[in-house]
């Protein structure tokens, strides 16, 4: 549907578009969007996660006609949205623990199904479980994998800001190599996070053969909304990982949240793709390719890669990582993704990057 948009002022790149057929407009452009995560929350200025969460949950609200329940892992999103006595949520929402969100989601989905059966309801509320990268790729990984393999009717959304931000920016398994965190300081012979560590959870999710897996970012709202709506069109376990820059943790100016996410995508640093039943079905192509340096240099967490004392070999290695993503996921031109895209961590470990 997006391909049909012929609006040359901004095409499909802006949030809204007064010139589009209303049915093709984004939810975020709507004057009466759900605003499931409403004003007054205590997220930092320019919080990518707050933005990503509203984008995603609003889209799911539209897709489900408001029949939606969300459970939330411990983390920034939970803390800034529901400190007693104020909640910023406008839909049924629960926070249980840090590492159990996927399982809580399974429980809610089971309860929703049973309640509907017992009360003769036609519609069964749908469930989204959400958390940060720490709660998803690390501590919550077991329950996540369990939810996947059971194919429970839960959409899991990981807001990936690539470290434990709530506790003060410590490394997670989603932290990219060389990134500075409080536990991977830019000191010693190999400053920042180690190379050859970490995991590609979207690819792992695909290996479960679940109906739908996608990555997205806050820089491309239409893509994100479309993916959430598509995810809600499937039943069973689904996984969307949204890149959400953290101004505080990344050392990015608060106004650059969206721009920084865009640079991550346009450099190949963060491949945006989608997969159905374990196979890649779509890739968001790079529109205006840029060297990864442009992404790195706006972030203090990579300052040691771009400053005067930077080791050009490390920068070249990061660029090689991006190039590998571009090749593997077919992010440029008419290239098709490789049938089995490779996690860059594998290439790092094999010292091919």
């Amino acid at each position: 549907m997006l391909e049909e948009i012929k609006f040359y002022q901004t095409g499909s790149n802006t949030v809204g578009n007064r010139l589009l057929n209303p049915s093709m407009r984004t939810i975020q452009a709507s004057g009466d969007r759900p605003n499931t995560l409403i004003s007054g929350h205590r997220a930092c200025q320019g919080c990518g996660e707050a933005l990503g969460a509203r984008y995603a949950i609003d889209a799911a609200m539209r897709a489900t006609g408001g029949q939606l329940i969300v459970c939330n892992a411990t983390g920034c999103l939970e803390v800034f949205s529901t400190p007693y006595p104020e909640s910023a949520w406008r839909l049924p929402w629960i926070h249980s623990l840090f590492g159990n969100t996927a399982a809580v989601g399974s429980g809610i989905a089971a309860a929703a199904k049973v309640r509907a059966q017992r009360h003769g309801d036609q519609t069964v509320p749908r469930v989204i479980a959400q958390g940060g990268d720490g709660g998803t790729t690390d501590i919550g990984f077991g329950p996540l994998s369990g939810m996947f393999e059971r194919n429970d009717d839960v959409l899991y959304i990981c807001y990936d800001n690539q470290a434990y931000m709530n506790t003060g920016v410590q490394r997670s398994s989603a932290t990219p190599p060389s990134a500075r965190t409080a536990t991977t300081m830019p000191i010693g012979a190999e400053p920042g996070a180690d190379w050859g560590k970490g995991k590609n959870v979207p690819l792992i999710a695909m290996a479960h053969g679940i109906p739908y897996v996608a990555t997205a970012s806050v820089a491309d709202l239409r893509d994100l909304e479309r993916k959430v709506e598509k995810a809600m069109s499937f039943h069973g376990a689904r996984y969307i990982q949204v890149l959400v820059p953290c101004p505080l943790g990344w050392g990015v100016k608060s106004q650059l949240t969206v721009t920084c996410a865009r640079l991550a995508c346009e450099t190949g640093f963060y491949p945006i793709f989608e997969a159905e039943y374990g196979r890649v079905t779509g890739v968001r192509k790079i529109r205006q390719q840029q060297p990864v340096l442009n992404f790195l240099k706006v972030q203090r967490r990579f300052a040691h890669l771009t400053g005067k004392k930077a080791d050009p070999k490390v920068l070249a290695r990061v660029q090689a990582m991006c190039d590998e993503n571009i090749k593997s996921f077919g992010l440029l031109g008419d290239d098709d993704p490789q049938p089995a895209p490779t996690a860059v961590q594998a290439l790092e470990r094999a010292e091919r990057i």
Partner: protein, 542 residues
């Protein structure tokens, strides 16, 4: 109702009690910058705004906004040299927006749909005399009429239009278009009296009991160039040639014609002569870079087979040849004689070295002052040194283009209006220009300018049919939608969407947005992501 436990369960949206606006150290505000097209437009058209509505397909509204500044969109869409497009920020992305062709589309749309100007809602009872029904005079009359004044134009020529009729060839401006747009002004109640020259302006004013006069005397006299000539070489002026072609449709002239000059008139004459079978060659003393003629018109002329002799002056003429002196440019770009000569076969010379105004009647007005050959006017109100007498167009300092004249006519009308109310017209200060650096070009999608369908080259050199065709509706909308809306809101919803705090309210179509300072934390994402550069962050007063 549920029984909710204390503290661990919360009611929805209760965070609204938490006014995070108190965190803010920077505050987003809207800035209104003038788009470079608008800044450049001699007629002061609000181009961004009428493109906005054209893009929506609301052509009438677009046309009405356009004609708030310029009553001749169909004409201007054909003859304006559209310097706006050279300033268009879209040029940094791909190609400039085809503003001129959309203007023509709107002008033609209005003619096709017989749209008329609104008559003034209130008659002031004041009478204004306009001398000259050229673009300046007609524009002044139009704007004066909009103010509710009674306007009468006296025109020396047989028909109204001035240089639009007698200076611009038909292949660029079909007369039916010109007539229709003039008629629309007449329909507002403006009266035009043709074929009479006003020799005593003061007497005319007094006899007619006019409260004010606008002088719109065009440059109808070709400048003379002294060419030492033998007895037989045919030397004509460009305006005479164009006028004869306009009135008779043809001119008896030799085959090999040298057109002497580098302005638009030279090009118009050369192209007109080409159409009646002559072989014109333009002789110009400087090079192409220094040529004042419109680049586009010149390109078309060369495509049509018109030759140019650059860096050349005519030092003398005999019956069938010209003595050409080669020139070279000095460091300042002025041509200097080289003392080298050559022969150029030519049976006639047409002088297109500029035009002058017939200012004899004006000079008779007591107290009126001149600066060189131009009437001295107040730069805002365009009032001459004689109270109640205003001047616009070629007779005052400024560009001698139709568009400039229309702009001057507008300002003169505003000057008159203020004068009639006992006030003085001061032009509003212009906003800062919206620069490309202020924009966020990522958001604009890639789209090349629509190429206007062109008449086949072979055909257009033999007839006076219009060379450039208008855009189809689809193309016009496409073109309008390419506008970047520099420095002004285009309601793309980006600010509304990207705010992590939902602290921007959307007010509905045409109404834009407002910042909700109760919750805005001042992160600046809205300003960063506004495609148009319409938002800036300013320090919060603490």
């Amino acid at each position: 109702m549920m029984t909710k436990p204390f503290a661990t369960t919360l009611d929805p949206a209760t965070s609204l009690a938490n006014h995070t606006g108190s965190w803010r150290t920077l505050r987003p505000v809207n800035v209104f910058k003038i788009p470079p097209c608008n800044k450049q437009c001699p007629a002061g058209e609000n181009i961004q705004q009428w493109l906005y509505y054209a893009a929506e397909g609301d052509y009438e509204r677009a046309w009405r906004i356009l004609t708030e500044n310029n009553p001749f969109p169909a004409c201007m869409g054909r003859v304006c040299y559209h310097t706006c497009e050279t300033k268009c920020n879209r040029g940094f992305l791909d190609e400039s927006v085809g503003i001129n062709s959309v203007e023509r589309f709107l002008g033609d749309y209005a003619l096709d749909h017989k749209l008329s100007f609104q008559k003034p809602t209130r008659e002031t009872g004041k009478k204004v005399l306009v001398i000259g029904a050229g673009p300046a005079g007609l524009s002044a009359a139009y704007h004066l009429r909009r103010f509710g004044h009674t306007v009468h134009i006296v025109e020396q020529g047989e028909e109204p239009g001035g240089m639009m009729r007698y200076g611009i060839p038909v292949y660029r401006l079909p007369r039916s278009i010109l007539d229709a747009e003039i008629d629309r002004i007449k329909d507002m109640g403006v009266t035009i009296e043709c074929g009479r020259k006003v020799d005593d302006i003061i007497a005319e004013k007094q006899n007619g009991k006019y409260d004010a006069v606008v002088l719109g005397v065009g440059a109808g006299l070709s400048a003379n160039v002294n060419i030492p000539q033998g007895d037989a070489n045919h030397i004509l002026t460009a305006l005479d040639v164009l006028k004869e072609i306009e009135t008779k449709g043809d001119i008896q002239i030799a085959r090999r014609v040298a057109v002497y000059g580098g302005g638009n008139t030279a090009v118009d004459v050369a192209r007109s002569l080409r159409r009646i079978g002559a072989e014109p060659i333009i002789v110009y003393r400087r090079n192409r870079d220094k040529m004042p003629a419109s680049e586009e018109e010149m390109d078309d002329a060369i495509k049509e087979g018109i030759q140019v002799k650059w860096l050349s002056t005519i030092a003398g003429a005999t019956k069938d040849s010209l003595k050409i002196e080669k020139m070279k440019l000095d460091e300042t770009g002025y041509p200097q004689p080289t003392g080298e000569f050559e022969e150029l076969p030519a049976d006639a010379v047409i002088l297109a070295a500029g035009q002058n105004c017939d200012l004899e009647p004006v000079k008779k007005i007591e107290g009126i002052k001149f600066e060189k050959d131009s009437v001295n006017v107040d730069s805002s109100s365009l009032m001459t040194d004689v109270p109640g007498i205003f001047a616009a167009g070629d007779m005052i300092k400024g560009d001698r283009t139709v568009t400039a004249a229309i702009g001057m006519g507008k300002h003169a009308a505003r000057g008159v209006n203020a004068y009639l109310k006992g006030a003085k017209y001061e032009r509003a200060a212009k906003h800062d220009e919206a620069k490309f650096e202020d924009m966020h070009p990522w958001y604009y999608s890639d789209a090349p300018k629509t190429v206007r369908p062109m008449l086949e080259l072979a055909r257009r050199t033999s007839t006076f049919d219009e060379v450039q065709h208008g855009l189809t509706e689809e193309n016009a909308v496409f073109e309008a939608q390419r506008c970047l809306s520099c420095g002004n809101c285009m309601e793309c919803d980006n600010c509304y969407g990207v705010c992590p705090d939902s602290a921007i309210n959307k007010l509905g179509p045409g109404k834009g947005y407002e910042f909700n300072y109760d919750y805005c934390k001042g992160c600046g994402v809205c300003a960063q992501e506004c495609p148009c550069g319409h938002i800036k962050m300013v320090p919060e007063k603490i």
